[in-house]
C-alpha cells in the first residue's frame, strides 16, 4: 500500500462496519507522515461528535401524525413541492383534524355502535397511533425520548396490555432512574382497568425485588401501599429484615405493611 491508497483508509477505523486492514496498519508502521496525518484527522473526525446536536421541536411529530391521518383519508394525495404544499396542506390537515375531532366525539358517544362502523374505525386508528408512538418512544436510546414515551402511555387505553407490558419492562430494566420512576407512576391507570388490573398489580409486586435504587424501591412500596396489595406483604417483610437494604427503604416497607393491616 502506498501513501495515496492509505489516505482513503485513514477514516476506516472510525466508521462502523469499515475495516482498515492489515496492509494499512503495516503502511502506518513504516510511514511517519501517514501516521501523523492519520492521527490528526482521526482526532478531528472524533471531535465532530462534540458539536451540539440539533433536536426537532415537538411540532414535527404532531404534524407528521396529522399528515398521516389526512393522507389516509385521501385528502393529501396532491403533488406538491414544499412551499406550495404547506398552505394547502394546512387547510387539509385542519379539515382532517376537525373531522377527526368530530369523529372522535361522536365515536365516544356511540361507543361500539355498529351502525357507525367508520367512526369506530377512526377511533381505533387514533388509539393505535397513540400506542405506536408510546411503544416506539419507549424503545429509543435517548432517556428523554423514553421519558416522552412513558408520558404518551397516559394517552392509550388503560386496557392496552402491550403498552402496560412495555411499562413493566421499563420499570424493571431501564438504565435511567427517572425513566423507571416515571414508568412506575404510569402503571397506575392500568391498576384501575378491569382488563389489566391483576397483571399490573402482579407486575408491581414482582418489580420490587428487582430494584436496587432506593428511590424507585420507595416509589413501588408507596404504590403497593396505596393499592393495599396484601400479596406484596411477604416481599415487604423480607425487605424489612434485609440488612443490605437501605434503612429508609426498610422503614418505608414497615410503614406499608402497617398500612395494609
Amino acid at each position: 500500500m502506498n501513501c495515496e491508497q492509505a489516505k482513503t483508509q485513514m477514516l476506516g477505523g472510525t466508521i462502523p462496519g469499515e475495516n482498515q486492514g492489515e496492509e494499512f496498519a503495516a503502511h502506518l508502521a513504516s510511514c511517519e507522515t501517514c501516521r501523523t496525518e492519520s492521527s490528526r484527522i482521526g482526532a478531528l473526525w472524533q471531535s465532530l461528535d462534540l458539536l451540539p446536536v440539533e433536536e426537532p421541536s415537538g411540532k414535527v411529530r404532531e404534524r407528521f401524525y396529522e399528515m398521516l391521518g389526512a393522507y389516509r383519508q385521501g385528502q393529501a394525495s396532491v403533488t406538491m413541492p414544499v412551499k406550495q404544499a404547506w398552505p394547502r396542506m394546512i387547510w387539509q390537515v385542519a379539515a382532517a383534524a376537525a373531522l377527526l375531532a368530530v369523529g372522535l366525539g361522536i365515536g365516544y358517544g356511540v361507543r361500539e355502535d355498529r351502525s357507525r362502523p367508520e367512526l369506530v374505525q377512526l377511533r381505533e386508528e387514533v388509539a393505535s397511533m397513540r400506542q405506536l408512538v408510546a411503544l416506539s418512544l419507549m424503545q429509543q436510546q435517548s432517556a428523554s425520548d423514553r421519558l416522552r414515551g412513558v408520558s404518551w402511555s397516559y394517552q392509550v387505553e388503560p386496557s392496552d396490555e402491550e403498552v402496560m407490558n412495555q411499562l413493566v419492562t421499563t420499570v424493571n430494566h431501564d438504565p435511567n432512574v427517572n425513566v423507571r420512576l416515571a414508568a412506575v407512576d404510569a402503571l397506575r391507570p392500568f391498576t384501575g382497568s378491569p382488563a389489566t388490573h391483576l397483571m399490573a398489580r402482579n407486575a408491581v409486586i414482582q418489580a420490587l425485588p428487582k430494584q436496587t435504587t432506593p428511590i424507585v424501591q420507595v416509589a413501588l412500596i408507596d404504590f403497593l401501599a396505596e393499592l393495599k396489595e396484601r400479596n406484596a406483604a411477604p416481599e415487604l417483610r423480607r425487605m424489612v429484615s434485609d440488612p443490605d437494604i437501605d434503612s429508609g427503604v426498610r422503614k418505608r416497607a414497615e410503614w406499608a405493611l402497617e398500612r395494609m393491616q
Binding site: I41, P52, Y71, S136
Partner: protein, 202 residues
C-alpha cells in the same frame, strides 16, 4: 378491540428491518410509516439543519420527506437499502426547496454562511470552551464554511453514521469514490479550521 392497523408489537418495533417496514407501507399498511418516522426523523432533521442552517425549513423538509415516502411508497424496492432510498428522497426534497426559495428571492449563499458564523461567535455557548484540544465554536464555523458537497458527505458519514455503500448509492458513485471524498472533506475541514484559528489569533 379489532385492529385496523397491523398489530404493532414491541418486538416488531425493535427488530423489524426498515426495508421490511417500508415494504409493508408500500403494500398499503401506511400507518406503519410511523415506525420509520420514529426511527429516522431526528437524523433527517439534523441532516437538513446541517445542510441549510434553518430549523424551520429543516422541519418542513422532514415532513416533506415522509410525505414523499407515502406518495412513492409503491416504487420502493425492498431489496434496496431503505436508508439510501430515504436520503435520495431527502436530497431531492432539499434541492427542490432551494430551487423554490431561489426563485422567490435571490439568496447570497456566502453572506448566509457568514451570517451564521457571526451568530455563532456572537453567542458563545458552553461549547466555546476549548475541549479535547478543539475549539468547538471554530469547528462549527469551519463546518458551515465547507463547500456544500463536502459538508454533505461529512454529515452523511459522520452524523448519520451511514455505510459507505449506502452513501455511494445516495450520491450515485463508487464506494472507492466515497472514501476519497470523505478524506478530502475532512482535510478541507481541517484547513478551514486552521485558517479560522489563525484569523482568531491575529
Amino acid at each position: 378491540m379489532s385492529r385496523v392497523f397491523s398489530y404493532v408489537t414491541v418486538s416488531t418495533l425493535v427488530n423489524t428491518r426498515d426495508n421490511v417496514v417500508m415494504a409493508e407501507v408500500g403494500a398499503g399498511q401506511v400507518a406503519r410509516l410511523a415506525v420509520l418516522f420514529e426511527r429516522h426523523h431526528r437524523a433527517l432533521f439534523r441532516y437538513f439543519v446541517s445542510m441549510n442552517g434553518n430549523r424551520e425549513v429543516a422541519e418542513d423538509l422532514v415532513q416533506e420527506v415522509f410525505f414523499r415516502m407515502l406518495r412513492y411508497r409503491t416504487s420502493y424496492d425492498p431489496a434496496q437499502s431503505f436508508t439510501a432510498w430515504m436520503y435520495q428522497i431527502a436530497r431531492n426534497a432539499g434541492v427542490d426547496q432551494v430551487r423554490k426559495r431561489g426563485s422567490a428571492q435571490v439568496v447570497d449563499i456566502d453572506s448566509f454562511v457568514d451570517r451564521r458564523a457571526e451568530l455563532v461567535s456572537a453567542s458563545p455557548g458552553p461549547e466555546e470552551s476549548v475541549s479535547r484540544g478543539q475549539d468547538l465554536a471554530l469547528l462549527r464555523r469551519a463546518m458551515d464554511r465547507l463547500p456544500e458537497d463536502k459538508r454533505e458527505i461529512l454529515v452523511l458519514s459522520r452524523f448519520q453514521g451511514m455505510k459507505h455503500e449506502d452513501i455511494a448509492e445516495v450520491l450515485g458513485c463508487e464506494v472507492g469514490t466515497v472514501k476519497v471524498r470523505v478524506y478530502r472533506a475532512i482535510r478541507a475541514l481541517e484547513q478551514i479550521y486552521f485558517a479560522l484559528e489563525k484569523e482568531k489569533a491575529s
